[in-house]
């Protein structure tokens, strides 16, 4: 990445109005999830028996209502969002690390190694990966960290393919030959000369993968395989809310709206980033 390319990408990102608004919304939602609960008088686990399943509104002490146990939905949604964001962060870091490393090695080494590594990916992507995650959860019990890691471990396949493709084209460039001629080792060439050149598609992929990961976690939690009570994630809240759809629709609408806004803004930021980086080589 050349000097100025990052700042230029940033300028382009900011120039797209949709992406800019989406970025601000995303930032606001994340900040809200991190700081919001601190400003609320209620704690997420406190049961308020005076106002069980109250609808949101000015008269209530709870801004966004409460659930069946009288827990404040505002706080619970934000804490659930925290969990969802943490899953997304950990899982995307895991999948990006594996994907970058695996793809770059396959693409750079090439030949039989590459063929073998790619066949392995094809076999893995042929398996229903959701069952892998479920299997791990069932086998090792419901463990948050394990859930994070296993989601990350199934998310790297696409990225590895993207990175491999990029590496193949980078490796044919003359500066790689020049690096070989100057006596640099394979590992050094991958780290110093190849990876920085494939960073931008990886970043774009990551922003687009985060919403998928959040969705996957929500889905697993919805099925009851993810986060456990009393902890909540957006997925468990939605699952709970879905059960009360007729009597207390806000229980679904509050976390549902939050999730929708979060996913939408992340996707738009990802699209904006892709456009911002998608300028080829300049200079």
């Amino acid at each position: 990445m050349k000097e100025g390319a990052w700042s230029e990408a940033w300028t382009r990102l900011a120039a797209g109005r949709v992406a800019r608004i989406a970025f601000l919304i995303m930032l606001a939602l994340i900040l809200l999830a991190l700081l919001g609960p601190a400003f609320s008088p209620h704690a997420s686990a406190t049961l308020d028996w005076q106002s069980v399943a109250t609808a949101p509104g000015g008269s209530s002490r709870h801004w966004l209502g409460t659930d069946r146990l009288g827990r404040d939905l505002f706080v619970r949604t934000l804490e659930g969002a925290r969990v969802s964001l943490a899953v997304a962060a950990v899982a995307s870091v895991v999948s990006i690390s594996i994907g970058l490393g695996y793809g770059a090695v396959a693409g750079y080494v090439g030949g039989h190694t590459d063929r073998l590594m790619m066949r392995f990916i094809e076999i893995l992507s042929g398996l229903p990966l959701i069952f892998f995650v479920i299997f791990v959860t069932v086998l090792f019990g419901r463990n948050e960290v394990l859930l994070f890691l296993s989601i990350g471990a199934v998310g790297w396949l696409t990225l590895a393919r993207i990175v491999r493709g990029q590496t193949l084209s980078v490796r044919r460039r003359e500066f790689i030959e020049a690096a070989i001629v100057s006596g640099a080792s394979g590992a050094r060439i991958i780290v110093r000369h190849v990876l920085p050149n494939v960073a931008s598609p990886a970043i774009v992929y990551a922003t687009l993968a985060i919403p998928q990961i959040i969705l996957l976690e929500s889905f697993l939690s919805f099925l009851g395989l993810g986060i456990q009570e009393p902890q909540a994630s957006l997925g468990t809240l939605i699952a709970e809310g879905a059960g009360e759809l007729q009597s207390a629709p806000w229980m679904l609408l509050v976390p549902g709206t939050f999730l929708t806004l979060l996913l939408l803004s992340l996707n738009l930021v990802g699209d904006g980033l892709r456009d911002a980086f998608d300028v080829g080589e300049r200079g």
Partner: protein, 320 residues
């Protein structure tokens, strides 16, 4: 013992079921401190020859023969062994100086990498050495160049950076593949002049690969002419330029425009097309384009015969 000794090297590829031969049996020795010019049309195998020496050929290249550098066999050597030689004793500079520099690394970092790899230098040592190397290739404002990215430099500056990088490992042999073809004529002259001063200062063997006889004529002591993957003539530069013996060399020499020569309506050229790697020959590969070709040329391949002043592969060499 020659510094670099290539012996009956053959390179071919299997592409879509066809055998593509790029080098068809070449033996070439380069002595310590010697400057050899390697001339030939595109596709004559001149670059392949040295890419093979450095282990840079594509994976599907099939090679036979031997390449020894200071007595060490390079053919089939593993990357670890090659890396001890590459970049330190034996190095190469490429035709296009922009694409040969990693775009996202500052010049200082790229130069420093060679030193930290081969010398185990610390960062500050590497920086000082990189600066000295840039000063050595007479680049303007070397301090500033260290902090710049490749795209911020001009073509001539980039080529100087590449040369500086090649010289960092203190090589005894430099392979220059069309080092000036991507540069304009004035910069080309400066770079060639720099090579001359470089050779005057230290015994550095240079292999100058070019299709431009004028470039080669200026530096090389010996000129080797390749055609269709084989050497057709090898002779001391002055002799080859004055009295070429192979008809192909003669045509090449005639094609090089001369300053002060008679004004020509049309520039001379070698008629016909250069043979490709897929073509196979019974006789001499040049026979179809050769003004002196006789029936024998099409039936029997001439071997490279070494005489008093160089070697030539022709049944009917000029002046015999």
């Amino acid at each position: 013992m020659a510094l670099l000794d290539i012996e009956s090297l053959e390179i071919h590829y299997e592409r879509a079921g066809r055998r593509v031969e790029t080098v068809r049996g070449v033996s070439l020795a380069v002595e310590k401190g010697e400057c050899v010019g390697l001339v030939g049309e595109s596709g004559s195998g001149k670059t392949q020859l040295f890419l093979a020496s450095l282990g840079l050929l594509p994976r599907d290249a099939r090679m036979q023969g031997s390449v020894r550098f200071e007595g060490h066999e390079l053919m089939g050597a593993d990357a670890r062994a090659l890396n001890r030689i590459r970049g330190s004793k034996l190095t190469m500079i490429f035709q296009d100086p922009l694409s040969a520099l990693t775009p996202h690394l500052r010049i200082g970092a790229q130069l420093g990498e060679v030193l930290t790899t081969h010398r185990g230098c610390s960062r500050s040592e590497a920086r000082a050495a990189a600066l000295a190397a840039l000063a050595r290739v007479q680049i303007s404002e070397p301090e500033r160049r260290l902090r710049q990215y490749p795209h911020e430099l001009s073509g001539g500056q980039r080529q100087r950076v590449l040369i500086a990088m090649a010289l960092l490992g203190d090589p005894c042999m430099l392979i220059a593949d069309e080092p000036t073809s991507a540069l304009d004529v004035t910069v080309q002259a400066q770079i060639l002049a720099f090579f001359e001063t470089l050779r005057a200062a230290q015994p550095l063997a240079i292999v100058l690969i070019s299709h431009d006889l004028a470039v080669v004529a200026r530096l090389a002591e010996r000129i080797v002419v390749m055609y269709a993957g084989r050497i057709v003539e090898s002779a001391p530069a002055a002799r080859l330029l004055a009295r070429p013996r192979h008809p192909y060399s003669e045509l090449l020499v005639q094609c090089a425009p001369k300053i002060g020569g008679p004004r020509l309506e049309r520039l001379p050229f070698v008629p016909g097309r250069a043979p490709r790697g897929e073509d196979s020959f019974v006789g001499c590969a040049f026979a179809p384009r050769c003004p002196r070709a006789a029936p024998r040329c099409r039936e029997e391949r001439p071997l490279l015969e070494t005489g008093r002043a160089g070697a030539v592969a022709c049944h009917f060499p000029i002046d015999s």
